[in-house]
Amino acid sequence: MRPAWSVILLTTLIGAGQGLFLALAAVDAFGEAPARFFVAGAAAALALLGAGLAASFFHLGRPERAWRSAAMWRTSWLSREVIVLPAFMASVLAWGAAHYLGLSREAVVFLAAVGSLLAAALFLCTGMIYACLELLQEWHTPLTPLNYTALGCASGLTAAAALAAWLHPPLAPAYAAAALVSGALAYLMRLAALARNARLRPKSTLASAIGIKHPRITQIAQGAMGGSFNTREFFHGRPREVLRAVRWSFLALVFPAPAALLLFPQSLALLAAAFAAQYAGLIAERWYFFAEANHPQNLYYQAIA
């Protein structure tokens, strides 16, 4: 598949935003921190979520009709995501406002719980958009929503550590430790997905694609000389070396590099650098996630003549 920047930005930004909110809500419910830390955290999470939402509009051919996409929530995970994302943003806003206005403890915890549920639902929706497509075998696994969740939580916890180092330093070591643990977990699951996909055997072959039982079939013409939507949308068009380089860079940036920086939870600069490195790694990871997927329709588009 061709990686779309709009979708890469959407999934990585809202993942970090959800993770950041979950990190803040956990401390809100079970720990202690000043209200201004939570207000700033809610603003940061909303900024991440808003940027992701804005990026998603660039994926649409007709963005002015985007409101229509809430219609088919009974069948479409994309439609569910379209509903859950604004609902989650509204609950983050309400939770931040509750802290700002100094509402009662019960109200704040209730809003944190609602937001946490919506964050989890949003992780599920985003992951299932890809995992529900049976024909994209690289994505059709429970590891897809699990990885979206784990990587989002890891980057959110790293962001929370940086935010705490800035506004409430006593919390930074705990957040950094949690970011290390969740980062390691997410890294292992992503490695598991890579190992699984390396062993995949495509279910479709050229023989099943055109229904002729013969081991040697070659395409002579694909019906168009200058390419088509099918050749543009479903091929990443990069050499193997680029894919390998992207894979190694995300394997270095998603966990090992930020992990080394997270060992210094007193330094705001190093924690901010950890988040920047991890986010860059997540962009590479998401690019690779799309490029790695091999669509069966590509069997029909192997030669131009």
């Binding site: 051919g61 007709r62 088919m72 479409s76 497509l133 019906g223």
Partner: protein, 243 residues
């Protein structure tokens, strides 16, 4: 229930692209609006098509066979593109099984094209909505046309009658009979989409000859050599003697 479909005979298709051009003409000039092209007269012409003829070579030289393979939306009975659509723009008609896109509802997110294993959907780069074969839905029910012309444009254009149009749920339709009697098959059955369109396989007409059929034992022309050679003094009587 009715399920309209095409049955495409690969044994007869000669790869002339008449179905492609007639489809493009009808759907470009029809009421659904243009089917846009980009750079049509330049070095890299591209555009939106509902139907494409591809060519494959089966086997290895010198034992090869060229197969022309027309490809369009297969109007699956269980279409994977429909449930994923977030707006409901992509739908399957209950009355005749045609899978359609409502161009006024489509937001151009391309998710349906990801869900289709056949690459049957193409986005119109000008209108920014997803498009695909409609089985000429604006033609097959047009009461102003003579009955014989109420068929998809590609079917009418095919010079070798390689395309059969009909209801594959009606066991007596020409399409159903062709599938049943000539080994009609579906593409990529592994995804469980149950395509309505079927393809008829290549068929070889061959005669098996044995050596004794090439040299017939009872060939009357060869009977001379089998008989004892008569002496020259023997009387001549038709073909049993000689002078």
């Amino acid at each position: 229930m009715t399920q309209l479909a095409l049955v495409i005979d690969l044994n007869v298709c000669v790869g002339c692209h008449a179905c492609v051009t007639s489809c493009k003409q009808w759907n470009n000039a029809g009421e659904a609006g243009p089917l846009s092209d980009q750079n049509p007269y330049g070095a890299e012409p591209t555009g939106t098509f509902f139907n494409r003829v591809q060519t494959f070579e089966v086997g290895e030289f010198p034992n090869t066979e060229t197969v022309h393979f027309p490809k369009s939306c297969l109007h699956c009975e269980d279409p994977p593109c429909v449930p994923v659509c977030p707006t409901g723009a992509s739908y399957k008609r209950a009355e005749d099984g045609i899978v359609l896109v409502d161009y006024d509802k489509c937001i151009g997110c391309k998710y349906c094209s990801w869900a289709c294993p056949y690459g049957a959907r193409e986005i119109d780069e000008q209108q920014k909505v997803m498009k695909k074969c409609t089985l000429c839905v604006d033609r097959i029910y047009d009461a102003k046309l003579p009955e014989a012309e109420r068929k998809p444009a590609c079917v009418l254009a095919c010079p070798t009658s390689a395309r059969i149009f009909g209801d594959i749920h009606d066991p007596d339709s020409q399409a159903s009979r062709a599938i049943r009697e000539q080994g009609g098959y579906a593409l990529m059955p592994e995804w469980g989409t149950q395509p309505a369109n079927h393809y008829l396989p290549r068929r070889k007409t061959s005669v098996h000859l044995h050596a004794d059929e090439l040299q017939r034992e009872d060939n009357p022309l060869k009977v001379d050599g089998k008989l004892p050679r008569p002496a020259t003094s023997d009387p001549a009587l038709d073909d049993v003697t000689s002078w």
